[in-house]
Symmetry: C2
């Protein structure tokens, strides 16, 4: 089924071709985002489409500034050089970068569910971003999510009000380099964990044999 | 394409049949979650499978307690009666509830990207939850995400350590009642916003005609 194909093959891409994106594909991606679930149906998202080169250039600069600042924390560790080799952003290459924002006041003073867990607004926006990623894959496009920046810098460049949270910079475009495995796995930065060790039985830390090493078919839960 | 079908038709469900879930379907849903993107490939998620009735009962009680507490904030507003009519959780009905957690320390002291934006850990878990939702749809199952609870109560019942964040209670099962539109739209709680008003051109608040009211085909960005 198409859902699993997209979920398994989706990758975080940092290298883009200059080829432009058909507007219909972009519209499909944004509509997919807008059909994400949101707590209390608050739909807290906005999408700033960044196409102007001088704005992309400013964003790329603040991302590079943050990359250099973060590299300091890896100095002298076994990840030091690897960090420097990782390409962080394709903002200036990609034809389009989208700043996805979260408005915590969308939906009024009391939002169902958000009253109990405030961060459900950002969680809703994250579901929208995952929809964008799967839709981009379905459209034959590549997407990269950059989280190396200070929010204050992005607010200044894009004139975003203080109460709005610029939660992600998303670059979209075509790529020639769509890897089979996650970039951080290929670069030996991190490996995929074993799912079995992440699943517990009724209480935290209690192992389950429900899902794994089962010979029986027709087992149900 | 299957991706769009799942994205558009996925619904937040609160009414479940007692029919059990085949283990293969559950495994597919958890594998889909585990293939979500995560910042620095940190994979901060765990999944506590809740199948025991006495634990479901306790969770349902703390959700109901929170529902009653929240209702007080709607007293005297036009949403007062509407709130009381909403069914919040199907925890005791569904054969399975999954507590999805976030471990902010997964991946060590310095996680790529999370060093800049700490909430990217919860955002990663949210992408995993959206994958679960789309996979559940693909498997012919219904899913409901409850965010009406105090995290301290969930930690106590499921014996979750203090540093682990129980970000969601997810119920999964079959349903006879899979609505075409969001429940909160059907109940006139909230309406879907116009996408056009949520999309901006290069800076916050600047309207764009790039995507909408376009007669031309072959427009690109």
């Amino acid at each position: 089924m198409g859902v699993y194909k997209a979920i398994y093959n989706r990758r975080d891409i940092r290298t883009f071709l200059k080829n432009p994106i058909p507007i219909e594909k972009l519209k499909n991606i944004l509509l997919a985002a807008h059909h994400a679930p949101s707590v209390g149906f608050m739909q807290p998202w906005n999408f700033i489409l960044i196409t102007e080169d001088h704005i992309k250039e400013q964003l790329a600069q603040i991302v590079e500034k943050e990359r250099r600042a973060l590299a300091i924390h890896y100095e002298g560790t076994d990840r030091d050089l690897k960090f420097l080799e990782l390409k962080i952003a394709g903002i200036t290459e990609a034809p389009l970068t989208i700043c996805v924002t979260c408005d915590p006041f969308r939906g009024g003073d009391h939002v169902l569910g958000r009253n109990s867990i405030p961060e459900t607004d950002i969680m809703s926006v994250s579901c929208a971003i995952q929809n964008m990623w799967l839709a981009a894959y379905a459209e034959g496009l590549a997407m990269g999510w950059v989280s190396f920046y200070k929010k204050a810098d992005v607010r200044r460049i894009l004139q975003i009000p203080y109460h709005i949270d610029p939660v992600a910079l998303i670059s979209i475009g075509y790529t020639e380099n769509y890897p089979e495995r996650p970039l951080l796995e290929i670069k030996n930065w991190e490996t995929r964990k074993e799912l079995q060790k992440l699943v517990f039985d009724n209480t935290w830390g209690k192992e389950t044999d429900l899902l794994f090493n089962k010979d029986e078919t027709n087992v149900t839960v």
